[in-house]
């Protein structure tokens, strides 16, 4: 307990630094919610348009399901995206402000740095997604929470996926400095086609399915579609998502630990912003 309290204070100290930054920068706050809201509007209107063209009888139920699958996919994929960006961009903020030299000579452990980045990722994800979830309900009568308690399992898995991808991005930033910063925005978008966000894994060409199957997100979205279509919980898919996340998280943590040490050997912590 005696070691835990200072550790928690250090984690809070770094989180406080980012929260204070957002208090002083409304463009940063707007940016958090901008893309999730825009994505929800675009996909929501698109799905509503197609639903209105074909919506009669049993086809109406199918189009409502399609709307749910599309909007559910958009919102849940944003959970992974925002979690990954929240963590990676918070680290980038330290690089941009040339503050890492002070942070890394404080008693803050690398594990506490990661904990603070995860804390900020959760805050950024919640703040960024809340308006989009509200809009989906107001404009399209799509209630994400109607998925029930299983929603929390979906969200948790996608957040964890965002974190291990972000650990990879932070590792690359430690290796290549700010030159790798575009990865903070783009890397998870590259996994979108294989994550089966809007279509089942079986829709992918056979050669690409193994890539989808090693991604937790593909299993989460299979589970989401099952929940929307049948109201049931696909425990098998969730089990795969949890197991894969654990494996990837361990690999991400190992990569970060190794890259942090390499950065200390190469002197990269002194010139990371260059």
């Amino acid at each position: 307990m005696t070691a835990l309290r200072p550790a928690l204070r250090r984690v809070w100290g770094l989180m406080y630094r980012h929260i204070a930054l957002y208090r002083h920068s409304w463009p940063r706050l707007v940016e958090l919610a901008y893309w999730p809201t825009l994505q929800t509007l675009i996909w929501g209107f698109t799905a509503s348009f197609f639903a209105s063209r074909i919506g009669i009888g049993s086809v109406a139920n199918a189009s409502a399901t399609a709307l749910g699958v599309l909007l559910g996919g958009v919102l849940l994929w944003e959970v992974a995206l925002r979690s990954q960006m929240g963590m990676a961009i918070s680290f980038l903020e330290e690089i941009w402000s040339r503050n890492l030299g002070h942070v890394f000579v404080s008693p803050l452990r690398p594990s506490e740095l990661v904990a603070a980045l995860i804390g900020m990722s959760i805050i950024r994800m919640v703040v960024g997604l809340a308006p989009a979830v509200l809009l989906a309900w107001l404009l399209y009568a799509f209630n994400l929470f109607a998925l029930g308690p299983v929603l929390m399992l979906f969200v948790a898995n996608l957040m964890v996926m965002g974190w291990w991808v972000a650990l990879g991005v932070v590792s690359l930033l430690l290796r290549h400095g700010a030159g790798a910063e575009s990865l903070a925005w783009s890397v998870l978008f590259g996994l979108t086609p294989f994550s089966a966000v809007f279509y089942p894994i079986s829709a992918l060409p056979e050669a690409l399915r193994p890539i989808a199957l090693i991604l937790p997100s593909a299993h989460v979205f299979e589970g989401m579609r099952a929940a929307i279509a049948t109201g049931g919980i696909a425990w098998g898919e969730l089990g795969w998502a949890v197991g894969l996340n654990l494996v990837w998280l361990v690999l991400g943590a190992a990569l970060f630990t190794r890259q942090f040490r390499v950065a200390r050997e190469r002197g990269a912590l002194l010139s990371i912003g260059e």
């Binding site: 309290r5 406080y16 630094r17 030299g101 002070h102 008693p107 190469r266």
Partner: protein, 246 residues
């Protein structure tokens, strides 16, 4: 007892030997200067003392903690200031100090910030964004950050660089008082010979990664038969040894 004990310390980057087998110690309560031209190895040495850089070989012990195995215990009891490392610009001075108060687990942070504001005349700056301060104000804030945890060891990398003579003198005067009152040990890297002469009781001179001389300012001046340290610095930089000069 020495606060810093360094033995056989080297750092190699590929073919370049930035620090070459140096050994030194810094006794408690002293202000020791680290002198040397560009590329002498001062910054590399300080980075290794701070744990930012892993040595290729050698051993560093700070406040009794082996930096290879227990650097966080040492880091909690020391601090660092450099004009080349910034504080987040958008945060106010008070917010910046609060961040570091948390990172260093400082009890009653706001009271500590008020004390530092008294000592360094920061009250008018506490609510201002760090990015809007002048160079002199930033230096005072950086010093406040480096003192937030009442460090037993303070590493200063060119603390008065880019300051006008008046502000530089104020900072030097304040550092003298602080060291005398707190008993803090200071390792000061500087290119400002007058500053080193005024503040330091002992000077380590580095060149090409090695410690090439050591002594009090008076001893160095006598050894090189010079009137000020700037001339000593030039003698060493231009390979005029103490023997050759005498």
């Amino acid at each position: 007892m020495s606060v810093i004990e360094v033995s056989g310390l080297s750092k190699r980057y590929g073919q370049t030997l930035a620090v070459d087998d140096i050994s030194f110690d810094v006794p408690r309560g002293q202000t020791v200067g680290l002198l040397g031209g560009n590329g002498a190895g001062k910054t590399t040495t300080i980075a290794m003392l701070l744990g930012l850089l892993i040595p290729t070989s050698g051993r560093i012990s700070i406040l009794g903690h082996d930096m290879a195995r227990d650097r966080f215990s040492a880091l909690a009891r020391m601090n660092f200031s450099s004009p080349y490392v910034a504080l987040p610009h958008r945060l106010t001075v008070a917010e910046n100090l609060r961040v570091y108060g948390h990172l260093y687990d400082v009890p009653r942070i706001d009271r500590r910030i008020a004390e530092l504001a008294d000592e360094l005349d920061l009250h008018a700056l506490l609510g201002r964004p760090a990015g809007e301060l002048s160079a002199g104000q930033k230096t005072r804030v950086a010093l406040a950050k480096s003192l937030i945890n009442r460090p037993e060891l303070l590493l200063l990398d060119e603390p008065t660089a880019s300051l006008d003579p008046d502000t530089g003198d104020l900072v030097r005067g304040w550092l003298e008082r602080y060291r005398a009152e707190s008993g803090c040990t200071v390792l000061l890297a500087s290119h400002n010979m007058a500053e080193v002469e005024r503040l330091c009781s002992d000077i380590l001179v580095m060149k090409r990664g090695r410690i090439v001389d050591r002594g009090t300012p008076e001893e160095l001046l006598a050894r090189y038969r010079r009137d000020d340290l700037e001339e000593v610095f030039l003698d060493i930089a231009r390979d005029r040894t103490a023997e050759a000069v005498s």
